[in-house]
Symmetry: C2
Subunit: 258 residues, 2 copies
DNA sequence: TATTGAGATTTGTCCATACATCCAAAGGCG
DNA sequence: CGCCTTTGGATGTATGGACAAATCTCAATA
């Protein structure tokens, strides 16, 4: 007799995530990988429900996420059509130094949510200008509209492994916090926000450093990571925000060259 | 024996909207009017389910909307807390003429979704500088990031009634289209977008005028409404977009005054 | 030929229920 | 007093079912 856990154990750990979130990820993988090509119709809900051995409600919860992220559009009487493979909403911005990233971060209320080590695959290696197989540090962050406001983009920053001793201190001191956020960092940003706003602050540590809640992770990073290094940030955000950001950078450069 | 329609017939028409949408509106009214003050906890789901004689599923669907719009935040184990009465995300922008609005519209991919006549209440009257009780025309529109992109703000524009003969032609020629949009214009913007992108275009009419799909309603407005008049537009959009827009206007003025 | 209508398909809405999970407050215990 | 456990209440997740509404296909009809 197979349990439902078994049914979902395809090629990724279940993580203890809710069932709809796991299905969500699998479907997202298929969309990004082209298993469900742009322009085509995804299998109907009932078919997916059978495949994943779940109820239609659970499938719909997963599909809701795909719709909110702009992957698919759904029409009563027709089905679920793929309208994006998401790669179109991603662009890459290269920074010459960490300081440069932090400058952007301060301007835009950037908050670090998660830090982990990743092994570069071919695509990532080309992106950051390194060799595949090398280990780099991945920093997941969120950009905010304003303190206490809403997050508007999700930022992945890659840093050479030689900075590891720096970010290691985060995990030592902030273990529970990052564990909490790690669980939500792959979910809807709205959820992550809730948790950030409501999280039990590592108050003592913050007081020691004289930091303000909400900006502490950024300032910590800034304090420890001061050496410059090649850094690539992958932005995945709302097209309008992306455009606004580009225009701002463009204007800043124009103003600087005058 | 009372039907469920009866239960919801409080002080607004049911419109044929789905039940969760009606509850949505009622709750939104209470949030805006202060019945549920900012900072307080809303009644729990079960309590609302009893009040509206609905299931918890339906209530949750309504609350989901309130959360997505930034009205409330929900915490497992605590409840639904009011964090905004939405008036904070609304600001008013005064234009000297319709042309000025259209200039903004062209720059920002503005699309008209619905036009109807409203009677000014005291607040609206003060806003537009007219007397309460007067009838004005309300134009509901959406601003887009780019053609085919996502909508980023919902715009309500008020125009003096003397332009009615102009917009009346819309209803004559575009009846079915506006009827369709009217149904969705009060719902989540995402839904409206879906419908716009997928709607059966009034192709013949568009061809006659030599218009491009997606911009036809704007161009129609522009063609017919040429007289200038006082116009007040109420913007209700994402804070970040609002800020970006203000900065753009500010820069444009600076550039113009140099 | 063009239109209408029936039927099948698919998503939308809604319900009743159950259990899990999280939180806060109350109470027990050292 | 301080720490731990219990308990009640709230949202989160999930199931299964039912019917409504929109759409497409295809056959029947004017």
């Amino acid at each position: 007799m197979t349990t439902k856990e078994d049914d979902l154990a395809l090629d990724r750990p279940t993580d203890g995530l809710p069932r709809y979130a796991q299905i969500q990820k699998i479907l997202e993988d298929r969309l990004v990988s082209g298993t469900y090509p742009v322009g085509s119709l995804m299998p109907p809900e009932l078919e997916l429900a059978v495949e994943f051995n779940s109820s239609r409600t659970t499938i719909r919860e997963a599909l809701r996420y795909l719709r909110e992220r702009g992957y698919v559009e759904r029409r009563q009487g027709i089905g679920t059509r793929v309208i994006s493979d998401a790669s179109r909403t991603t662009f890459y911005q290269s920074f010459g130094s960490l300081e440069e990233l932090f400058q952007v971060a301060v301007e835009t209320y950037y908050v670090v949510m998660d830090i982990k080590t990743v092994t570069l695959d071919a695509e990532l290696a080309e992106l950051v200008g390194a060799k595949a197989g090398e280990e780099w540090i991945l920093i997941n962050g969120v950009r905010w509209t304003e303190p206490g406001g809403k997050p508007i983009c999700y930022i992945q920053s890659y840093v050479p492994k030689r900075f590891e001793h720096v970010v290691a201190q985060f995990h030592d001191h902030q273990g529970p916090f990052f564990a909490l956020l790690e669980r939500y960092s792959d979910g809807p940003i709205e959820e992550a926000v809730q948790e950030i706003r409501a999280m039990p602050m590592p108050g003592e540590f913050i007081r020691q450093l004289g930091l303000k809640p909400g900006s502490w992770s950024l300032q910590l990073l800034r304090r420890y990571v001061t050496q410059s290094g090649v850094l690539i940030a992958s932005f995945n955000w709302h097209p309008a925000e992306q455009m606004a950001y580009r225009m701002r950078i463009h204007r800043a450069k124009e103003a600087g060259s005058e």
